[in-house]
Structure formats: structure tokens, C-alpha cells
């Protein structure tokens, strides 16, 4: 009987435990005075940190947890633990404490519904979050103390609550259609048990640069604010087996003993923007260039970009390097941090800075801007638009003809979450994104991840048949039309390779000039790396590009890429071997164009012809032959004549431009010197025939 009574008591007690708030009062813990003393001390230590504000909340957790183990039924302690966890990286731990706090004492703190709203919001329990935020809103509005408090900004509180409630509604919709992705931790060569974030990649994903707060940072000091190493920039390279090599500190030319964070990298990985912190004018942007294997000391992007006392926090490159997108909180924007655009002037300085406008910028913060190598798709983070919580990542496409940005599109769950989603970059192919996340199964706290976009679900196709005709035994197969898969391909061509000397094979640092042939304009200039000879250019679809690889003492190399708007993404690997300027050496001029079946030079040839004129001026002793070549189609005699006329047209152009006729010789070779198998009668593609139609340049005397 006694046993049964005890059992009953236990059941009653346990049932009542949740409803009973137990104060940290020694009268409640007479049987364990020592334990109570320790717990009370932990509580005190926790409170001291808690009272210093949210930066120290994460440090208070350890002490509060100890006190809570001793007395798990104190409403206020549960409330504080929930509050602390919400300010930490372990937000998912907050909810049980807050729920318990309210159960123990519904009036534990006026802010409890706000915190509960945040915890449910984080857990994507949209309706519960909305309910809690709404409860808090009514409480704030009804509280007479708020009205009397001159420091209380009712409007700001209402705005924030509205934003959060809207985010819950957004989230409820967004998670209904998750995007299909694989998410992979970048592994221990990149991530450590410490914080890694803000990865940027070259367009071909061969180089990754990121920020880390791992031990061993430059200067070796700890950030007194959070007791962690200062930020440094690290770099890693893709290895032949596709994995990342071990990340290395980019070196002391770039990293200082203060915060140094990566912001943007050029598509070729040869230059990057650095964000430098506290000492610098409220936070400024700098650029460092890779010379061989050494990153240069970062140089400020200048006053046009870095406004005094304002926070310029992020910048990225356009594929041609002539446009800069950056983030600043300077006045005159839409509110908070906004995204701005700047253009390089003739002197190479940034000018014409302007706000990207209300389609992109909201009255909330925009951050972490990234322009895709296609030159038109902008990725950025924003707390506005239809964010589902904190910053979400959005994309917007620029329509050059209409001079308009498309309505920003939330890139979707699960890449976007209810937390701050910032620092997102995407590969040239559009297949991979790189971002920062906190997960339970990572290497460390914040880790870098690669997300592989699978696109919309690829529908399975089922097959069926019916006995459609009564008098025919054989069933009739149902006609199946596989549902269309929406394909979103990046619209660009990545051209990459190694520049080297034709004879010695020694790698060369050369200038790479990109010409818009229809505009007859050099639109960008890059350099191949002097240590590796590597180059990479991103060619957004929609143009006919002339590409010249130049180095002093060498004949230039010319390539032509016609990339229509409809062209699919492609990576073209083209190693370039430059020939030294010597008698007998010859090159093909790929950007000299004639009207069909005529010897009339087309205007698109101007830049290449001018390059030739400049070469003749630079090397006054140079005498050359210009040779015309045709493909094998058409009669041999016709082709011979056409090639002669075309070579002469080039010579005429040069003499008209002032090059002495005595230095120039024209020769027509018709179809006598084909570069491939495509002779008379051999079936070949248009591209193969195109290889043979060319103007060649040969050094006769030097």
C-alpha cells in the first residue's frame, strides 16, 4: 500500500513539475546546500556576462547550463538560456528553454513571446512564430510604460515585428517548393574547427579564397571583442583529382594583424577585393593583384568608392573588370546598406558611382554582392524582398537593352534558411554555388559548403498501353511526351589555358586583349599569370569576340569567338604558344573578316588591322608578307584569285594607314595550304572549312 502511495505521489509530482516555478532560494534546496551554493555561483557568473549584452551571451551559456542542471525549473533561468542560445550559433537549442519558461511562468518576461517567435521562426514553425510575434506586438502596444518611455521607439519595434511576420509568411510559401541540391562540406583541407566563411571562387572553380578565424592568423592576436583570432584570408587550389588542396594563408602582403576579409575575386582568380576593418575609415575596400605567386599589398579602391566614415563592406568584379558592384551604408540610399555600381573611367579610376535603385535595394540591408561571370546575373543578400528570415540570397538579371534589373528572386530553400544567408557565389557553369553554413555535422563552427544545383525535378517517364481496338489483339502503346525540364544554363563561354613560348615552352605572362568586334572596341584586358602562364576570360554570350594574346618581342596570337545569345555554356581550353618575332615565323590573323566571296574588308577587322599597324610602327625594320588562304570549296582558280585579292586588300589597308609599301608583300595561296584534311571532295563541317579561310602574316625581314 505504501509502495502504491509513493508511486502515486511521484506521478503527481512529475505531472506538476512543469507547472511549478522553483526559485533559486536556499529554502527550496535544504537537502543539498553545497549543490545550491555552486549553482547560485554559476548563476551569478552567467548573469554578469548576460548583463554585458548579446556579444557575451554565448559565454554565459556554460554557467547557466550548470545552474540549470541543478535546478531545471526556474522560469527566469530558462528564459535567459533561451535568449542566450538565440544569440549563439546554436539557435536550435533555444526553443525548449523558452517553451519551458512560459509554462513555468507565463509572465516571466515581457519579451518572452518575442523570443519564442524567433525560436519558432528559426525552426520554421511559421504559424506558431506569427502567433508569438503577434502576442508580443499587442503586449508592446498595450504597455503604458512604453508610451511614457522617451527612449522607446514604438515605430521601430512595430516595423521590425512586421518584417519578421512578413518573413514567416514568405517562408511558409518558399519552403513549399524546395530547390533540389546536393550540399557538400568542402572538407578538412578548407574547413577547420574554427570559423570559415565568405568563400569566393574563380569562374572555373579552380581557385577558392575565403576568410577564416583559425589560430595562427597574421599577428597572432585575439579579437578582444569575441576572444577569437582576427580574420585572415586563405587560398586553395583545385587538384587534379577534383578535390581541394590544403588552404594556405595568402601571406603578409595582404593579411594584417587586424581583420582582413575576402570580398570578391576576378573570374580569372588573378585579383581580388579585400575588406579591411576597424582602422580603416569605418570599413573600406581594397584590391590585391597576383603577380606571379605573390599577392600585392592591397590598394584602396579610392575615394569614389570608400566614403569617409561609412562602411563599404563588399565588392565584386564584372567579367570584363570595368564595372564594380559594391555595398555601402553611405547616406542617400534606400536604407541601411545598399548596393552601388561604379564604372572605370579612361584613366582606370572608378567613377560614376550610383545606387542600383529600388528594384534591388530595399529600406533594409543589402549585403554580399556577387556578379556572375555571365555579366548580367547579380547575386546578393537582403533582409528585405521576400526573405524568409535574416538575410536571404537573391538573384536579379540585368537587361542591358531595357536598362532594367529583373525583380529579385529568392534563390530558395534549403540554400536560404531562416538564419542570415550571406556570401554566396556561383560557378561560371551555374552548376555549383559556394556558401557558408552552420550545421551539426560540419568540421567546425561556420564551414564552407558547395551546393550542386540539380534544377527542377527530372520527371520519370512511365509507359503504358491499351487495347484500343476491340478487333485487334495487339495493344496500342500510349504516346508519351516526356514533361519538359526547365533548363537554366549559364550563358557564357569560359576560355582558359596556358600561354607559353612556342619553342622553349616556357610559360609567359602576356596581355590578353578582348575585342568586341561589332563595336570595334577593346573591352577588356587581362594578364596571364607570369608564374603559371594561366589565363582565363569569361565571355558572356551575345557578342563576336576577337582575342589577342600579346607580349613584347613576340608575334601576337589572335582568336575569334562568335558567341550568340542562345549559345550554351561551354569551357574552351586553348593553350597559346607565342612565337618570337623572327624571320620566317608566321601567325594567323583570326579577326580579319571579308564580305562573302569578296575581297572587301569588313569593319569588324579594324582592331586587328590596327594591331598590325602598331606592330609595324613598333618594329620599324619589320618586313612582312600577308598571305590569303581559302577553303577548298569552289574552283581552284577562283579561290586562287580570291585569296590574292584579299591579301592585297589587307596590304592596301596598311599602306593607306601609312605603312611603307616596300615593307609589305601580298601573296595568294588559294587552297594550296590547307591546315586540315578538308581538300576537294572531303566532307567537312563549316567549322573545319573556317579553319582554312584565313589571313596569315609572315615575317620576311627583321
Amino acid at each position: 500500500m505504501l509502495k502504491r502511495f509513493t508511486m502515486l505521489m511521484l506521478v503527481l509530482l512529475s505531472g506538476g513539475l512543469y507547472a511549478q516555478n522553483v526559485e533559486f532560494d536556499k529554502a527550496n534546496f535544504k537537502e543539498d546546500k553545497e549543490g545550491f551554493k555552486e549553482a547560485k555561483n554559476s548563476l551569478k557568473l552567467g548573469d554578469e556576462l548576460y548583463e554585458q549584452g548579446p556579444t557575451f551571451y554565448k559565454d554565459a551559456i556554460e554557467h547557466y547550463e550548470k545552474a540549470n542542471t541543478f535546478n531545471p525549473n526556474n522560469a527566469e533561468l530558462n528564459y535567459k538560456l533561451g535568449d542566450c542560445y538565440l544569440s549563439s550559433m546554436y539557435k536550435y537549442k533555444a526553443l525548449p528553454y523558452l517553451e519551458k519558461a512560459v509554462k513555468l511562468n507565463p509572465n516571466v518576461n515581457t519579451k518572452v513571446h518575442y523570443l519564442l517567435g524567433m525560436a519558432y521562426h528559426f525552426d520554421m514553425e511559421w504559424d506558431k512564430a506569427i502567433k508569438e510575434y503577434s502576442l508580443y506586438r499587442s503586449a508592446v502596444q498595450k504597455d503604458p510604460a512604453n508610451a511614457q518611455n522617451p527612449y522607446f521607439n514604438m515605430q521601430a519595434v512595430m516595423d521590425e515585428l512586421k518584417l519578421r511576420i512578413d518573413q514567416c509568411y514568405n517562408g511558409r510559401e518558399i519552403v513549399k517548393t524546395p530547390i533540389r541540391v546536393f550540399v557538400d562540406n568542402l572538407g578538412e583541407n578548407i574547413n577547420t574547427p574554427h570559423n570559415e566563411y565568405g568563400a569566393v571562387i574563380s569562374a572555373d572553380e579552380s581557385v577558392i579564397v575565403f576568410t577564416s578565424r583559425r589560430p595562427g592568423s597574421t599577428g597572432g592576436k585575439l579579437d578582444p571583442m569575441i576572444n577569437e583570432p582576427f580574420e585572415d584570408i586563405y587560398i586553395a587550389y583545385r587538384q587534379d583529382d577534383g578535390t581541394w588542396g590544403k588552404a594556405q594563408n595568402v601571406g603578409e602582403t595582404v593579411n594584417t594583424d587586424d581583420h582582413d576579409a575576402i570580398s570578391g575575386i576576378a573570374p580569372d582568380g588573378q585579383r581580388f577585393y579585400v575588406y579591411m576593418g576597424r582602422k580603416n575609415n569605418g570599413g573600406d575596400l581594397y584590391e590585391s593583384v597576383l603577380n606571379g605567386d605573390v599577392w600585392s599589398k592591397p590598394e584602396s579602391l579610392g575615394k569614389e568608392i570608400n566614403e569617409k566614415d561609412y562602411h563599404e563592406s563588399s565588392a565584386c568584379y564584372s567579367p570584363d573588370g570595368n564595372t564594380l558592384y559594391f555595398v555601402s551604408d553611405k547616406p542617400g540610399g534606400q536604407g541601411g546598406h545598399d548596393i552601388y555600381i561604379a564604372y572605370k573611367d579612361e584613366k582606370g579610376e572608378w567613377s560614376e558611382t550610383k545606387n542600383l535603385g529600388t528594384t534591388i535595394n530595399t529600406r533594409f540591408d543589402e549585403e554580399a554582392v556577387y556578379m556572375h561571370p555571365d555579366g548580367k546575373t547579380l547575386y546578393f543578400s537582403s533582409k528585405g524582398h521576400n526573405s524568409m528570415g535574416g538575410f536571404d540570397i537573391f538573384s536579379s538579371v540585368y537587361d542591358a537593352e531595357a536598362d532594367k534589373w529583373s525583380e529579385p528572386k529568392n534563390i530558395g530553400y534549403p540554400v536560404n534558411t531562416t538564419e542570415d544567408d550571406v556570401f554566396f557565389v556561383i560557378s561560371g557553369s551555374g552548376r555549383h554555388g559556394y556558401y557558408t553554413s552552420v550545421t551539426n555535422d560540419g568540421v567546425g563552427l561556420r564551414d564552407l559548403y558547395m551546393v550542386t544545383f540539380l534544377g527542377p525535378e527530372k520527371p520519370m517517364v512511365l509507359n503504358n498501353e491499351d487495347n484500343l481496338l476491340a478487333s485487334v489483339a495487339a495493344p496500342v502503346k500510349e504516346t508519351v511526351i516526356a514533361p519538359e525540364v526547365q533548363v537554366k544554363e549559364a550563358q557564357l563561354t569560359i576560355l582558359k589555358g596556358v600561354v607559353s613560348d612556342y619553342l622553349s615552352k616556357e610559360v609567359l605572362g602576356a596581355d590578353i586583349e578582348i575585342v568586341d568586334n561589332s563595336e570595334n572596341k577593346v573591352i577588356a584586358t587581362f594578364k596571364s599569370n607570369s608564374s603559371t602562364g594561366k589565363y582565363l576570360v569569361s565571355l558572356p554570350a551575345g557578342k563576336n569576340y576577337g582575342i589577342a594574346v600579346k607580349k613584347e618581342g613576340y608575334l601576337f596570337h589572335s582568336e575569334n569567338f562568335d558567341i550568340p545569345n542562345t549559345a550554351a555554356f561551354q569551357t574552351v581550353e586553348k593553350d597559346v604558344e607565342l612565337k618570337k618575332l623572327s624571320v620566317g615565323s608566321k601567325i594567323v590573323l583570326r579577326n580579319i573578316f571579308f564580305d562573302l566571296d569578296k575581297a572587301t574588308l569588313r569593319p569588324e577587322s579594324t582592331v586587328e588591322l590596327n594591331r598590325l599597324i602598331k606592330l609595324m610602327a613598333d618594329v620599324p625594320t619589320l618586313k612582312i608578307e600577308l598571305g590569303g588562304h581559302t577553303d577548298s570549296r569552289g574552283s581552284d582558280s577562283y579561290n586562287q584569285q580570291l585569296s590574292e585579292k584579299r591579301a592585297k586588300a589587307v596590304v592596301d589597308y596598311l599602306t593607306n594607314a601609312g605603312v611603307a609599301a616596300s615593307r609589305l608583300k601580298s601573296a595568294g595561296y588559294g587552297e594550296t595550304q590547307l591546315v586540315n584534311k578538308c581538300s576537294n571532295g572531303v566532307k567537312c563541317s563549316d567549322e573545319q572549312h573556317q579553319e582554312n579561310r584565313r589571313t596569315e602574316f609572315k615575317v620576311l625581314e627583321l
Binding site: L454, V461, N467, A470, S471, P475, E478, E484, E489
Partner: protein, 368 residues
Amino acid sequence: MFIFRDIINQKLAMKFLLKKTLLLGVCAIGLSFSCFSQADSVVQAEIIDSDSTLADKHYNSGIEKFSSKLYKDALADFDKAIELKPEFEKAFYNRGITKHELKDFNGAIADFDKSIELTKNPESFFSRGQAKYALGDKEAALTDYTAAIAANNNHAKAYYYRGGIKFENNDYQAAIDDYNEAIRVKKDYAYAYNDRGSAKRQLEDYQGAIYDYQKALNVDENLAFVHNNLGSAMRKKGDLQGAIKAYSKAIGLDKDYFIAYNNRGSARYDAGDYKGALADFDKVLELKNDYAYALNNRAAVKFKMEDYNGCVEDCSKAIELDANYGYAYLNRGNAKELLRDEKGACEDWHKAIELGADGAKAHTSACL
């Protein structure tokens, strides 16, 4: 059928024989699993034993033997009848029918030719059309059906079979016109309703198809294949529950009807009932383990149930059965992608493109 009506002086009632003989004319073009249910072919007539002529005796003996499926003996009797009476048109006709049964289609055609030469008998045109169809000469069959109709514009079967050829030539509207005529002549022509429904279905007039299939079932509710076709029209129209019900009826009437199981599985798949779909496809494979479609479809269900290895396995089996099964490659590629076998996925999708699987091209956008 009038051949037998003409022999009024025969005493022996041979109803069963007549039914079989006439049915031969209707069903010869294919071993339709449900052909026997076409009751409209039954003709009441009497054959009277007579000793009037030896030819007639042989003729009647031929009919008896035919009824006993002794086709070769029947043929010998009809041969003798014709030998004794070279202008015996009905013996030519019946011999033609017998030769058709013996799959001597050219011999049958020669007999029908003779019968036509003698009387321009519309039945002979019709039966010759059937023999020509059996030889794969659809155009000639169509011409004969047209001739049968010219000789008798109420020849329901000639309309019906001509409609069938037009259907097979994908000329669905013209087929419907013929089925309309067949139904005009014979209001309870269940097959014509079914086939007209099918023609409408091919023209994506699913509502019209459903109407016709239901008309066919009003005539004979035991036609399992019509229930199946009704289900498919409903599925096409998006009425998945209606479709599942109709397929279930078909299965209720024919427990081994694997096509209906396969279709019900697909309807359940479309309705998101993957467990139910899986059970149906399992059943198909129990009934017919080399039915590649069911393997492919079960693979789709396994994909949805995130059993990607199972999906690959079933697709591979389907491909083993049919090396040119493009959609099985397409589906297997989808599963391989999620198993992170990008190379294998791309190889499968490229193979699917090569085999003409519609839509496969779009899958390869991420392939190197």
C-alpha cells in the same frame, strides 16, 4: 451470312456451326481475346440434310467438319463440292473462309475472287478484305471493305473494319466517320463504340472517348478491355480516381489482365499513391515477368520512394529485355544522378537521346 440462309431445304439445324463460321469472317484478322463475345454474329438458319445433289452433300459435310474444327477435312469436302459443281458460289465462299482459318490467305483470296466473279457477293468482298488485311495489305483490304459497302451500304462490319484500318493509319477523324456508320446500322455495336472512343481519345477528345466507352459498356458491361480503355481516357483527362475505379473493374473481370494492372499502377503513381502503384507493378511482373514497361514503371515508383538503387536495378532489367528502351535509360539516368553517379547518369541520358526518348536532351545540360 446469307449463304446459309439460302440453303433452306437443309433439315439439320446447324446453329452452332453457323455461328462459328460467321465468326471466322469477323475475327480472322487477329486472335482478339474478346472476339467471341461479339454476339451480333449469330445468325439463325437451318441447314437441311438433302440428297438432292452430291455437291450439296459435300458442301454440308464441309460445314459440319468446319464446326468440328476439322478444317482440312472441311476443305476436302468443299473441294469436292466445287469439283462437282464448278459454279457453286457459296462453296467458294465457304472454302475461302476455311482456307483463311488454315492461314492460306492467298488461297482464300482466290476463292473470294471466284465468288465475287460469280455473284458480287458483298460478304466475299468483306472476307477478301479480311484475308488481305491478314497478309498485311491494308490498302487492298480498305478497297474491299469499300466495295462491300458499295454493294451493301448497311454492311456494319465493313464500316467497322474500314474504320479500324483508318485508325491504324492515324486518320482518326475518318475512322470516326466509319464507326458512326457502323453504329447507325447497328445500334448496339459495342466494338464500334469502343473503337470510336479510342479514335476520339487519340484526338485528345477524352470526354467524347469516355462517352463512347460507357456506351459500349451499356451494351456489354463485361468487356474488360473497354473498362481498361475507359480508365485510360479518364487518366488522360486527369480523373485519376475514376481511372483507378475503371481499371479495377477491368481487373475484376479478368484477373490476369496485366495491361490493366500496369495502367492502374500508373494512375496510382500519378495520384501519389506510390505504395499502391508498387503493388500493381509487382502484380504485373508476377503475371508477366518480361513486361519491360512494368519494370520501367516500377523503377519510377522506386525513384519516388527514394529507393534509387532499386530504381536502377529495375531500369537495368527493362533494358536487358529491350536494349532500345530509351525511357528506361532516361529514368535510370535520373536515379544515377541522385546516387551521385554523374558520369553514369550522363551516359544514360545520352543513350536515351540516341534512342529518341523525348525530352532527354534537357537532362544533359549539366553533363560535361
